[in-house]
Symmetry: C2
């Protein structure tokens, strides 16, 4: 049986502009679950990974509001919380859809840790904005009180920045593989997994954000998936995105993708990491990597939608 790792964007689970109620999140998860079931019905073994940006953002806002009475958790703890929250919604909705379609399968959420390197340069220059906005004075206060790195946000105000180190291995891959081989639909590597470094015999959680697509590429490689399917909210990767003449890309050879990445053609916080993840997966020996819109998931797997990255 062919195996696919499906990476769901954080916005697939908390839709842009949607009211952030739990019901909205449930409805979005249910819509994603239908697509996951379509993929499984087409004969694929499925691992589901997902983003957690909006959800961790909410947890950070909640934490900060009570920082005087309840100790805020470090970001690794918040990430683990978000894996529980989002995993729950996906697990219930995927289980329901399968049951309704008479193709009952066990569905399991595996809390995931992702290894990063202690000497990753990202730890020396954090760049990823997280949490609430502050005034400059408040920001300097947090630098002193908590050792945060604070930075003026281009959208105004000051925010905390954290490192986004590169993942190199997923701690739970052996577990994930075993469960897929046993027929389960596995939800793993949520939010890219909690970043951990190896410190002697110990795994130590780090405050940082692992890009969920880069982590999905590693999980796909380690778990022997043939395909990495990155689902987002646009139908195709574009050249000249944001210009007057954007151009859809149907097929993108790895060599060309690397040139475009190097030229900064894709946004650093948006399409860039997805294209990079696809490149990484193919360079590690993966057969196919496709970037597509959630609703076109099965067409994309069949080669009839999205942007397919190809070796060469």
């Amino acid at each position: 049986m062919q195996r696919v790792v499906v990476a769901l964007g954080g916005n697939a689970l908390l839709r842009r502009g949607a009211d952030d109620t739990f019901q909205e999140m449930y409805d979005a998860a249910r819509a994603a679950a239908e697509r996951i079931a379509d993929i499984a019905a087409a004969g694929w073994e499925v691992v589901v990974t997902h983003g957690n940006g909006p959800q961790v953002g909410r947890i950070l806002l909640q934490q900060e509001a009570t920082a005087g009475s309840v100790h805020p958790m470090p970001l690794d703890g918040c990430g683990a919380e978000s894996q529980g929250q989002i995993g729950y919604l996906l697990q219930v909705t995927i289980g329901d859809v399968f049951f309704e379609r008479g193709m009952e399968r066990p569905v399991v959420t595996v809390l995931t840790l992702t290894r990063v390197r202690p000497d990753d340069p990202a730890f020396r220059s954090p760049t990823k904005y997280v949490g609430p906005f502050y005034t400059e004075a408040e920001a300097h206060g947090l630098e002193t009180a908590r050792g945060y790195t604070m930075k003026a946000d281009p959208h105004g105000g000051w925010r905390r920045v954290v490192p986004s180190p590169a993942p190199y291995s997923i701690v739970e891959t052996p577990i994930v593989e075993r469960l897929i081989a046993d027929g389960a639909i596995v939800i793993a590597s949520g939010g890219g997994g909690v970043p951990v470094i190896e410190d002697g015999p110990r795994l130590v959680g780090k405050e940082g954000v692992v890009d969920k697509d880069l982590a999905a590429a590693i999980l796909a490689h380690e778990a022997g998936a043939q395909v990495l399917l990155i689902l987002t909210d646009v139908p195709k990767v574009q050249r000249g995105y944001g210009t007057l003449m954007p151009e859809d890309i149907d097929r993108l050879p790895v060599s060309e993708a690397k040139e475009l990445l190097a030229a900064g053609e894709f946004g650093a916080g948006s399409m860039g990491p997805k294209v990079q993840a696809a490149v990484n997966f193919l360079e590690a020996g993966g057969a196919r990597a496709v970037i597509a819109e959630l609703d076109a998931a099965t067409d994309a797997l069949a080669g009839a939608a999205g942007t397919e990255l190809v070796p060469g």
Copy 2:
């Protein structure tokens, strides 16, 4: 190999009176991890379950403080978050201890859903206090605005009360069994699992709290464990607890335990559910159920510490 389900009290993970920092929680998890490794080293297959009362309490405080700007999640979502948070700490610390002792084993946290009955009388009369304290006027406001059931707390102030329905089956048992059989240390049924009811083909999360010991008893039965080991912060079950002449109990036949439970001998929120869980496990065919202090875990398994409930 013999199999044990170990139920860790919520207070084993956020010690009574301790400052509620993440480091404190980590240290408590690490202490529990040492005992789990002792048990595995003695030749047992181990499933770890845990409480989540203090942790969900913190999440509720955080949610309420930002209720005006970030929609609070229902309690089932908060429970799932807490499974991620606590599972993370246990998974990392258990993995570390095993690695340090040269007995490396995969450790996995399985997000758990627990089936409860839609007609459970608990849904008609919620009794479990959760979340922040309010004035009576605020309490009535929440009844109107959110449909909460609010009640005067014996400790003063008003609080939300939620149902504590009886669990009858654990959705993820087949997954847990498979993972244990494969040699993994499995963390499951955190906080008793998220309560769900079956509604046609769907599982629907309910706002409520499943007693973690009752859920552990069901998981132990379903997963074919020989022993249910309930770890808490007192060395033995006592007769006359809180009186001038409390008396330690070494062995407690099920019939006597049931009489004492019926007579209200054990506190409803403390020892009662533990004794009830032990009784349920034995009546379902379990071989042994022991209630003991965390630090005496291996002695308790060997029959040399704690209170052992026995058939008869």
